[in-house]
Amino acid sequence: MNWRQDLAGENPELELEVEQALKHFKASMDAWSDVALSRPRTLAKASVRHSWRPAASWALGCLLAAGTLAGAVHHWQETKLAAQKAAQNAAEERAAAARATAQPITAQSIGAQPDNKAPAATTRELSAAQHSASGQDEALLASVDKDVSREVPAAMEPLAQLMDDGGTQ
């Protein structure tokens, strides 16, 4: 026993007891480990393990993970497309609004600024556009009047025909 030198306490009686306790502890460990080491070992026959179970659970897990991932990607793409479409619509609306406000402003600005000497070509173009627009309006109104005037009940059609003929004669 090479550890007796460790026991150099003030109380010799206690040190003797510690020494005894440590000796018993070692003897106990020796006995326990001897018995444990020499115990008969039963070799259990390896049971047939179902190898498909872990494979199936793995496959299911992978499928679930792939599904979740695909769903997330799809959702993300949908959101992105919707955002793009909304942005496009907004831009178109803005552009349309800008176009609608730009024409009168140009015309007003040209007419409202007496000092500003607008080029003659621009003025001419503007007046030509106004003329053509008023001509189109008149033609449209005339066709509408004609259509409306032609809408007479079927029973009055001969009379209307006569009136037309009389009118033309």
């Binding site: 026993m1 090479n2 550890w3 460790d6 026991l7 306490g9 206690l14 007891e17 510690v18 005894q20 306790a21 440590l22 018993h24 502890f25 070692k26 003897a27 106990s28 460990m29 020796d30 006995a31 326990w32 480990s33 001897d34 018995v35 444990a36 080491l37 115990r39």
Partner: protein, 216 residues
């Protein structure tokens, strides 16, 4: 100690021979019989088997006292020798084979506790026996019943003290008082300085004294 030293010397020779197996060694004009690699490996394997046979009970006992779990101690003992076999070529014989093996066992035990701490959420099955059961083991000497009971009580008190020790203190304590290793060997096996080993032992003994004093 002398036997261990002889064993180390022998091993150093075997390792050296296995490395220079294919070369012919000439000494003082005398030709030594060349040793083939296969022959050297066979000798090394036989010697390793002898080492396993002689040191297995001690490694097992140390692990059993550390873990109080027979199955786990057996598993880690096997792992210890497997690791030793894999790294046998790196063993230079600078320390004794026992110290080297003990170092591997200590590291395995550390890894085990670390893994258990990390996997605290896992309901790991443990077969560790409780302290009362561990205290039951005593050799049937010529003691009478009263002495047996007294001895059992003392063993239980030492177990109680061991339970309260830190992992490192417990390792040092068990190496000293169960494996009866020298301080230098414990220092080498644990990678601590001798002073630290002494400090750990002093604290561990203090706990044992407190336990024993508590029942007086």
């Amino acid at each position: 100690m002398a036997a261990e030293r002889r064993e180390n010397e022998w091993w150093r020779t075997v390792n050296l021979r296995s490395k220079e197996a294919s070369t012919k060694v000439m000494a003082a004009g005398t030709a030594l019989k060349p040793m083939t690699v296969e022959a050297a490996e066979e000798i090394a394997a036989q010697e390793f088997a002898r080492i396993v046979e002689s040191h297995r009970p001690q490694i097992f006992r140390f692990l059993l006292s550390s873990l109080r779990d027979i199955d786990l101690a057996e598993t880690l003992t096997q792992e210890c020798f497997l690791k030793a076999h894999r790294n046998w070529s790196h063993f230079r014989g600078e320390s004794s084979a026992m110290t080297w093996l003990m170092r591997i066992a200590i590291n395995l035990q550390k890894d085990y506790w670390r893994n258990r701490r990390l996997q605290f959420w896992r309901q790991t099955r443990t077969n560790a026996v409780d302290l009362d059961e561990a205290s039951e083991w005593l050799p049937n000497g010529e003691r009478n019943a009263e002495q047996q009971i007294l001895a059992r009580e003392q063993v239980a008190q030492v177990w109680q003290a061991v339970k309260g020790l830190s992992e490192r203190q417990r390792t040092v304590f068990l190496l000293r008082y169960v494996e009866e290793r020298e301080l230098s060997e414990i220092a080498e096996a644990t990678g601590l300085s001798e002073g630290t080993v002494k400090a750990h032992l002093s604290r561990a003994l203090g706990r044992v004294r407190t336990e024993l004093r508590g029942t007086r």
